[in-house]
Subunit: 583 residues, 2 copies
């Protein structure tokens, strides 16, 4: 493409209120422009990147056996009422009425539409499995759209939905999708991690996220320094912490502990590490129809409660909020001195959960539910009916659950941008929408579903967050709108222009996508735009031409190499080799 | 693709309330399914056709030098207020508010968005011309969505917009687009006509529509039996009608014509053809802010007023409605006896228009504005200040305006489906939105614009309206989702299945897209689905295999040919030749 004939408006100044480099550069380099809050036009360069990403996603999805469809974007509210999400989904679901006062939504996701479609057309287990996907528009009315394409309201997503007659088959497809997604992100040239994600709230038996590693990422992820293990904070686990100090040996007894109101003070008082103390965390759980109840979590004083894990522990709870001191006192407890013994006296069936790592733990010190008193020598194995759950938030340095035992891999935290999410949904939607198939016994069963998403337009941002420098973007070879930017230094020099055209034609004949910068601009403008736009290679046809030389610049490190043009065929072959090698 | 692994739900029964065959077949063959009124899911086969059309459109648009973009679909109302269309556009413009009560519309077309984009980025005539296009979602809240994809609410359109510094350059691009569109529709395998279209209402200097010829078409078009001339009824012209009877020779006089209230009776009374009579048509024109006025149109009694031409004749009028007898009488006129003489007495500046073909006509008979009286021997050349306009509706048999004189081409009517529209917009939007560039003199000028649309999803219907039979669809080679349907008659016969697979693999290696019907279904089901789905060729691997034979069926005429498989390489080459020849 000729720069002079295309629409690539570039800017020197960063737009206002821009935080991320990807946001700044995509706008400054003329890839996108905002039309309204969180709504963007894709200009020619941005559209080309989008198409490249789209075609890689499509190719890999097709190879995996999934069938591409295009689902209606404007969706009748009735479908969303069937699933129950019309009411439950927050304000991100944009609802409106058409001219006949029928209510519709702008599709933020398409579980309802696809479930309805499959319900209407698939009757037997013989027609399963089935995986349908689309690469299509989505709209989510975000409260605070920001960071450019990273958190837009209108965006392009690849969303796929699979239907199965057994959970085993769902698991097979889920694993296949993990491989497929990994191939997609690898082909795109991204450094990413597959991480375990929380799937507690929706139920279902597992979910994984694909995280592009970048300092600017919104998500904290926990990864192993030795193996490929990764997880979101709310899904991360570890090898059970072993005691690194001697257990405080003591018979069960009540101790006067004046002024000792927190774990630090307690450890200090008994001259032990907080590992041997038992921490009680009281929260208030919110259930359907606004019902609420106090919930009690116990974990080692050296650990921290992860609130998502805590919420997932409570069947039926929608949210966890802080419990006030008054509420705790009203329950008959003494804040700062709560221990498991006191809870025995609570009426009803209180919600009490112990962290998994406390199973049968002994030699503990805990609150005695009396001001300034603690128990020592507490042995949990003497308790009956304790419900153990995974409640702890892992810490940097904890042992990796996958390789910690065998290889001593340790966990650490890093930041990532979520670009994909795969999910074993189970029967959540099919049950709600009465979408069933006949199994081998002729019995109606709800479809067992998986869903799989990739943030296609977000990927433009993710690539750039991972690949940029202070001068601009550095596209990977698979995502670059063109491979080579041929800059004619001075188009008034007819020899330069002719050589630029010649190289342009020759490289295109080799299947190399080129941008020919034939604008009536200074060299300085062209090189700045090259650095900003970030095509993998730049070729400068300038004054060196008089000596029979051109220059090739590698965008990644801005290294330059002088090439002789005496043997033009060899020159073209040399450039092609460089381009092919780059990824 | 294997039929057994894909999602192609076919139906024997036509859905209810379906009028068009394309609508019926696209649903029955599993290409589309409705999700809401005028909103469709594209299933895998429909998506494939859509992609094929899209890629041909893209290729030709790119070759023409246009730049592809993707514009925001959800569009701020503010842009539509700037152009004035937020108020003027009817209920087809779906308006709604987001969570922050900002008003948006679902883009039914994108003149506003593109004008804003170019206004913000293009400053100089040096950056022109510029043509930006997209292939993207549109929404129009039609009062009566119907005919499947033909008149949907949510649909895919290719919309392009060009920007120029002169009308000459706009005309060049307009002509280029006519060629580009013609190539697109030719490649798609369509029999179409380019027709002159009405552009009066928007102003601008010309517009053409691309009409796929089909009996079921919603539009009546007027075409020449000899040359390529075509036009919409409201834009059609003809060679001026020559008198085919002797003119009634008479001095100017007033005649008593008792009971003669219409043209037929008048011609009968004077024993002349209606060609020599002058017909007055009175309408009421509606202007901005609800103002209205009576308007008077004169044409030969043998002609019919075309209401669109009539409306275009009146500067500033938005609509034409019937005038009541009371209103005509209140103006001082006698219905049935209105003639041009009477209008001389009207006060103000009445709106009076004569048809072009009446210029300087003589020997006419017209109403005398007195009950039961007419004038004879009327000579219009004696009138002063007559405003002549093209007002007549052409009739079948009229002489073609392009070749009627030279080759005697005659016009006739046929029906078409509008699939494209190209338009010389001029400065309508750029003026309203103050989008200007600096011309060579450094003076700000509004951009001169063209716009160009193709109904991409509608094309699926158009192809089928033109190409189907009583058994199903007949896709053209460029639009077919696959070229060949390989039907394994009985998959339990391992030899048949193996041969089906072998042919499938071999043809795919030749670059031929194949559907392998490997379902556990009877042969009858497979052949019926082949006929319904309408791939260009079917190959039957059945009982003939024992004799070393397979059958190939050409969908267009359902002709069958037996092929020997003894020389497999030759067989594949033979099939490839057949497929390549077909279009």
């Amino acid at each position: 493409m000729r720069f002079s004939k295309s629409f690539i408006p570039t800017f020197k100044e960063a737009p206002k209120d821009v935080v991320l480099k990807s946001h700044e550069y995509l706008i400054r380099a003329g890839f996108i422009q905002q039309i309204g809050s969180g709504i963007y036009n894709f200009l020619p360069l941005g559209k080309r990147v989008l198409d490249k990403i789209r075609s890689i996603v499509k190719e890999e999805m097709d190879n995996s056996g999934a069938n591409e469809v295009a689902l209606g974007f404007v969706t009748p509210a009735s479908l969303w009422k069937e699933s129950g999400r019309f009411e439950r989904y927050g304000k991100e679901l944009l609802r409106f009425s058409d001219r006949k006062d029928n209510v519709f939504v702008l599709g933020p996701t398409h579980e309802e539409v696809i479930t309805e479609l499959v319900k209407a057309n698939v009757k037997s287990y013989k027609q399963l499995p089935l995986h349908l996907y689309q690469i299509n528009l989505k709209f989510r009315d975000e409260m605070r759209p920001r960071f450019g394409l990273m958190r837009a309201r209108e965006f392009i997503m690849k969303d796929g939905y699979s239907f199965h007659s057994s959970f085993e088959d769902l698991k097979r497809e889920f694993d296949l999708m993990e491989q497929t997604y990994s191939r997609i992100f690898t082909r795109l040239g991204l450094d990413f991690r597959v991480v375990f994600a929380d799937s507690g709230a929706i139920g279902g038996s597992g979910s994984k996220e694909f995280m592009v590693l970048a300092k600017s990422g919104e998500d904290t992820i926990c990864v192993c320094d030795t193996c490929s293990y990764g997880a979101n904070l709310e899904a991360a686990t570890r090898i059970k912490i072993a005691p690194n100090t001697q257990a405080p040996q003591a018979e069960f007894a009540k101790f006067h502990t004046p002024g000792v109101k927190n774990i630090e003070a307690l450890a200090e008082f008994f001259k032990i590490t907080s590992f041997w103390t038992l921490k009680a965390v009281v929260k208030k759980a919110i259930f359907d129809e606004g019902k609420s109840a106090l919930v009690y979590f116990f974990l080692r004083g050296s650990d921290t409660l992860n609130t998502t894990k805590a919420l997932n522990a409570i069947s039926g709870a929608n949210a966890l909020i802080e419990a006030s001191e008054e509420e705790i006192k009203a329950a008959g407890l003494i804040p700062g001195f709560i221990g498991p013994f006191a809870l025995r006296n609570l009426t009803g069936s209180p919600y009490i959960y112990f962290d998994n790592e406390l199973q049968d733990a002994g030699n503990l010190i805990c609150g005695a539910n009396a001001l300034d008193y603690h128990f020592v020598g507490v042995d949990l194995s003497t308790f009956e009916g304790i419900e153990y759950k995974d409640l702890v938030e892992v810490q940097a340095g904890d042992l990796c659950p996958m390789c910690g035992e065998s290889n001593g891999g340790k966990l650490y935290f890093t930041r990532g941008i979520e670009v994909g999410h795969i999910f074993q949904l189970g029967t959540k939607y099919s049950s709600a929408m009465e979408a069933t198939f006949l199994d081998e016994m002729g019995k109606a069963q709800p479809f067992i579903m998986g869903c799989y998403g990739i943030g296609v337009s977000r990927l433009l941002s993710a690539v750039i967050e991972q690949h940029h420098d202070e001068r601009g973007m550095i596209w990977t070879s698979a995502t670059a709108p063109f491979s080579v930017d041929i800059m004619v230094s001075n188009i008034k020099d007819s020899a330069q222009l002719a050589m630029g055209e010649k190289i342009y034609t020759a490289l295109r004949a080799q299947g190399i996508e080129c941008l020919l910068d034939d604008r009536a601009e200074r060299y300085g403008v062209k090189i700045a735009d090259f650095e900003l736009i970030g095509l993998p290679f730049g070729i400068v046809v300038g004054k060196g031409l008089q000596k029979g030389e051109i220059e090739i610049i590698k965008r990644r490190d801005l290294s330059r190499e002088v090439l002789k043009i005496s043997d033009f065929v060899a020159l073209v072959a040399e450039i092609k080799t460089l381009v092919d090698k780059c990824h």
